[in-house]
Assembly symmetry: C2
Homo-oligomer: 392 residues x 2
């Protein structure tokens, strides 16, 4: 086990009806003027935004609204939010939505907290924010785990780059998680969320670090619960318990609990960021499910026992002691079959990716030759090309 720090100060308020507590909670913290940040029309139509606005105003809190966040959230809108916060002297950013809205809110909070900086510099790892406006969340989509994580991923339309960075400054102060708010999430988006949640654990699980028994058992337990709940939510979108499992597991899968004590590099996320950076219509979860089986088959020979452990402990497959690779591959196949059962893509062809652009995808993923990706197997441009091609 490696040395590590674990710090998850976000206060989770979880369960039925909890979204109506936002006004009271923000007033108790003493904030006066809130940027209410959200996405498209669904939160408006459902009455959620009206309710939250009313709850805030009932507590004497001023509300400045900024909607329009789309999947793969745009830097340009965040820049608008930063100006708004400064001009309106906003002291709190409340994200009502899923990962895109939360990440956009985090980016706004960092930008508003550091007037002298260009926020994109954080994503380029040129500098780090030293302060930020506090962020709160009302979660409407179980997927990104951004509600309890220090990560933030944005897309820059000027150069087609999608990049992320981690910072304690923007980790949400609180997250209100009412699983009922996810009843109306479509089958496709539910599948994308299930894949994304699994992937946050899987990307940490497939490592060369040994002796991480506690973290392994927790990761395997989370994966089993997510697989079961993902199946149920796919068939019964208003099953509270399945929606609740996905929501709680979503937060725990990306708050570092499943990474404690080991090296990891979110390789499939990096490969996917280039995909949805180049093809903005590709949903993050769909890009992940299309890439993971090929990535897994490519890196598996570098740590067969790890993949065999996954097959046995997560998928309850029998261990083939004479041929562990067979077990390892069966675990990858079980994962792929599960993605298919959720109608998620398992190839790039299904996503309309043009074979001719694979070189460019890989080139971008190396930051134009500036980096390789360490991990269970180190990936340079050549390896990335091979994975993208296997996934076609």
């Amino acid at each position: 086990m490696n040395n590590f720090e674990f710090y998850t100060p976000t206060r989770m308020i979880f369960g039925k009806e909890t979204h109506r507590q936002a006004g009271k909670i923000i007033r108790e913290y003493g904030f006066k003027k809130v940027l209410l940040h959200f996405g498209g029309s669904s939160a408006k139509k459902s009455g959620l935004l009206d309710n939250v606005t009313a709850d805030l105003e009932a507590e004497g809190i001023e509300v400045v609204a900024l909607g329009g966040v789309r999947p793969n959230p745009a830097l340009s809108l965040a820049r608008k939010g930063i100006s708004l916060c400064r001009n309106e002297k906003v002291d709190f950013v409340l994200a009502v939505g899923g990962g895109s809205v939360i990440d956009s809110a985090k980016c706004i909070a960092d930008g508003a907290g550091n007037p002298e900086d260009d926020v994109w510099d954080y994503f380029l790892k040129k500098k780090m924010p030293s302060a930020a406006l506090p962020v709160g969340v009302i979660l409407t989509l179980s997927a990104s785990g951004s509600e309890m994580s220090s990560s933030c991923v944005m897309s820059n339309e000027e150069n087609g780059m999608k990049r992320g960075f981690n910072s304690v400054t923007h980790r949400p102060l609180f997250a209100i998680c009412n699983p009922e708010l996810t009843y109306t999430v479509s089958r496709f988006q539910t599948g994308c969320g299930t894949v994304d949640i699994m992937m946050h654990t899987l990307e940490r699980y497939f490592t060369q670090t040994q002796n991480t028994a506690v973290t392994d058992r927790l990761a395997e337990g989370l994966l089993k619960a997510v697989i079961e709940a993902g199946r149920t939510a796919d068939q019964y979108p208003e099953d509270y318990e399945a929606r609740a499992s996905l929501m709680w597991a979503g937060s725990l899968s990306h708050n570092d609990l499943t990474g404690a004590g080991r090296d990891f590099m979110m390789q499939v996320h990096q490969l996917e960021h280039e995909l949805s950076g180049m093809y903005p219509a590709i949903a993050h979860g769909a890009g992940l499910s299309a890439l993971w089986p090929s990535w897994a088959r490519f890196v598996c020979p570098s740590n067969v026992s790890r993949f065999a452990q996954y097959a046995v402990n997560v998928w309850n497959l029998d261990m083939d002691f004479e041929n562990p690779l067979k077990t390892a591959m069966a675990g990858i196949q079980a994962t792929e079959d599960f993605f298919k059962s959720l109608n998620m893509p398992v190839s790039l062809k299904e996503l309309g990716v043009e074979p001719g652009r694979i070189e460019e995808l890989a080139e971008k993923c190396t930051n134009m030759g500036a980096r390789t990706l360490p991990g269970i197997r180190e990936l340079g441009k050549e390896e990335m090309v091979e994975i993208y091609q296997m996934a076609l």
Copy 2:
């Protein structure tokens, strides 16, 4: 799943050599004068206290030392610490030790933060502290989970009562966890710790609340890791990975992760508090291992399927679908056998408890008739007497 709040703001600094960071960390937070709180001679002999004192002073931090905490920490010493903090204008309490030292430090922090209150009133649930000095921990014993929990348990020598209460005021700001510091923990104390860690999860696991899949899988995973690590540490006290697993699992077992979304009542802890209140020589973990098998057999018929799930998912026993009670009982037996394998007591006789005092134990556990204990099966005085007698 029930609604719940989950809030674990303690910053964990985990791994080899980390204890030497205490001075730097406390200076970074800006504290100036520390009450260094500790137990007996082992921290002195090992040089740990000298090292920590030197590290604090090297950062310009003043140190006021207060040692002498013993197992089942005494209210009287904490009262002394409260006076010391007030007179010396201490602004931070650093616990160097295990659960007893940490709980004593929490009690001191609450008392020093509320000069007008009598701290014992918190334990009697008459009132709650409104503030506290911040607390930090250098952990030397994997057991209580107090380093990341909001709980605090103290013994009042004036009336022989042992009582606990939870408060966010005294939850540690940070906990430094170096598994190497536990190499010298005796086999007996290691066994006590393993039992205590398991018990924090087990007491939350055996519930009537249904549909807690995520919490169940995490709890089962933690238990499996603790059982494996407990076995190894018992035989190889300097096995870093086993010590690390116990330490990390100890923190996660009592920070509410394994209780999220369900009702629970620490019944075995309550029954044990009376034991070690009446017989202060009884170690907490030994009292728990002596009581748990009898408690489990007594309450098992109230939720056979839960105990069967435990047997299958934690102990990998085969489910007897025709006779689930048989599987359930086999899981309890496996637990008892495991405790025995660690040389932990599984009866009150081994602890020298006098049969004639059982009535008194039960009476005290009901707070002189003022309460029953809800849970997987409600326990009144009669049921408590029966459990104590089964355990003789």
